[in-house]
């Protein structure tokens, strides 16, 4: 029984069809790395899963909740499916702890004390206990992204979507974020990452999805797919990205 089930999803932006019938199954505990050229539809697919984008046909089910119908309860969905963004999108007027505490207090109606305890816990997990009362402007890119991850974790999601979360970081800051994600994977969190970090995908991923022109072009166990890409498009892609 998959945690996230995507069936033949099609999506167009106006006249431009970006997803041309994508099907994918993600089981609990999977670490799925979605790779592909820009324009292949990978970010769009990710954003369809938590309802940031709508799609025209097909179906998506996440943790038993149908995504995309008129009756979709986005609030309920997003408590179970979290997202971390390329641009971090931390709330600049709130401290790190306040950023993390906001959703639990407002959406889950958790008490401030309990929320702060949770914030302390997740910020410790990402290694930023001492930065609890710092504002985003006082943090480096890597630190901001780790706070963003902690912010999503505070809602105790079943699935965490990561949209190129290291692409906007200076190279030397990438590892601190990847290490956090790796730890989450080890603890059994279900992760779906759109990423360019091939080494990470190969070493930590349990499933690799290569997207090309809006479709799943190749799929499989990362080590095997990288060692022996079947299609010329993936061979080319892997050769280029190394």
């Amino acid at each position: 029984m998959s945690l996230v089930s995507i069936r033949d999803v099609r999506k167009s932006f106006g006249a431009n069809e970006v997803l041309k019938g994508v099907s994918l199954d993600i089981a609990k505990g999977d670490v799925v790395a979605i790779i592909g050229r820009s324009g292949s539809g990978k970010s769009t697919l990710l954003r369809c899963i938590n309802g940031l984008e709508t799609y025209q046909s097909g179906s998506i089910t996440a943790d038993g909740i149908e995504v995309g119908g008129l009756a979709t309860n986005l609030r309920k969905l997003r408590r179970h499916v979290g997202m971390v963004f390329q641009q971090f999108n931390l709330f600049p007027h709130l401290t790190a702890a306040e950023n993390v505490m906001l959703a639990p207090t407002v959406v889950n109606k958790v008490s401030k004390a309990e929320a702060r305890a949770t914030a302390a816990e997740v910020l410790a997990k990402v290694g930023l206990s001492e930065k609890m009362d710092a504002y985003p402007s006082e943090l480096s890119g890597g630190q901001q992204q780790r706070v963003a991850i902690a912010r999503s974790l505070a809602m105790r999601p079943k699935v965490l979507l990561c949209d190129e979360i290291t692409s906007a970081l200076d190279p030397e800051l990438v590892n601190e974020v990847l290490r956090v994600v790796e730890q989450l994977a080890r603890e059994g969190m279900t992760l779906i990452l759109v990423t360019h970090e091939m080494r990470f995908a190969r070493d930590v991923g349990t499933k690799l999805v290569f997207m090309h022109h809006g479709k799943v072009h190749e799929e499989g166990v990362p080590k095997e797919v990288f060692a022996a890409p079947r299609t010329p498009e993936l061979q080319l892609f892997v050769g280029q990205v190394g």
Partner: protein, 216 residues
């Protein structure tokens, strides 16, 4: 004929200035409240409310304030209700102010990066929660400078209330001119008093804007 000294003129003008200030404050405060309501309506994504707000703004921004004053003054009277210049002026200025403030504030809300909306909605916040906890706190900071700047327009707008008979600074000037036949002096003083009211606000608005640009 009564002889008016310089100080007679000035003191009369200053007394009338109180009414300019009172009218400005009420129009600004009430206009702000209405403007905020309009902001929520305009961004609500409910077509009927958005449509109403757009027409409202189009009317109050696209017609002369003087016409609006006349319409309120003569229009309410049609209902058989006694309308004083004070009432008509307050109502007209309130609605006029609200139309401009709501557009200024909408601009500030729309300048908040889309990522803030996406991050907060991904955390399961509803629209009202997003506005209250994430968007408006940031937008208000940006909105201070243009809002203060618009307060200057409100003060200048009160001058038109004189035309429907409300006795504020400009009307006092007209009356004193008729009594003293010293228009150069009278209107210079009137202009000077308006300048003293408006310039500090203009200067403050510019200062806030400057500080904001440095901080970015």
């Amino acid at each position: 004929m009564l002889q008016f000294s310089f100080w007679d003129i000035l003191s009369n003008l200053l007394i009338a200035t109180q009414w300019t200030i009172v009218l400005s404050l009420i129009a600004f405060a009430c206009g702000g409240i209405v403007g905020l309501a309009l902001l929520f309506m305009r961004t609500s994504r409910i077509p009927a409310l958005e449509w109403f707000t757009k027409i409202y703004i189009e009317f109050f921004q696209g017609t002369p304030l003087l016409m609006q004053l006349f319409l309120f003054f003569f229009g309410i009277a049609l209902f058989g209700i006694e309308v004083s210049p004070w009432t008509a002026a307050t109502l007209a200025l309130t609605f006029w102010t609200s139309a401009f403030l709501t557009e200024i504030w909408r601009g500030c809300v729309e300048s908040i990066p889309k990522g803030q909306w996406e991050a907060s909605s991904s955390l399961a916040l509803s629209y009202i929660e997003q506005m209250r906890y994430v968007i408006l706190p940031q937008a208000s900071r940006i909105a201070i400078a243009p809002t203060v700047g618009f307060s200057v327009q409100v003060i200048k707008g009160t001058a038109l209330a004189s035309i429907i008979g409300f006795v504020e600074l400009t009307k006092a000037g007209t009356m004193l001119n008729n009594a003293t036949f010293r228009p150069f002096l009278v209107y210079s003083l009137v202009a000077l008093i308006y300048f003293c009211l408006c310039f500090p606000l203009s200067w403050w608005a510019k200062k806030i804007e400057g500080r904001l640009n440095v901080a970015r």
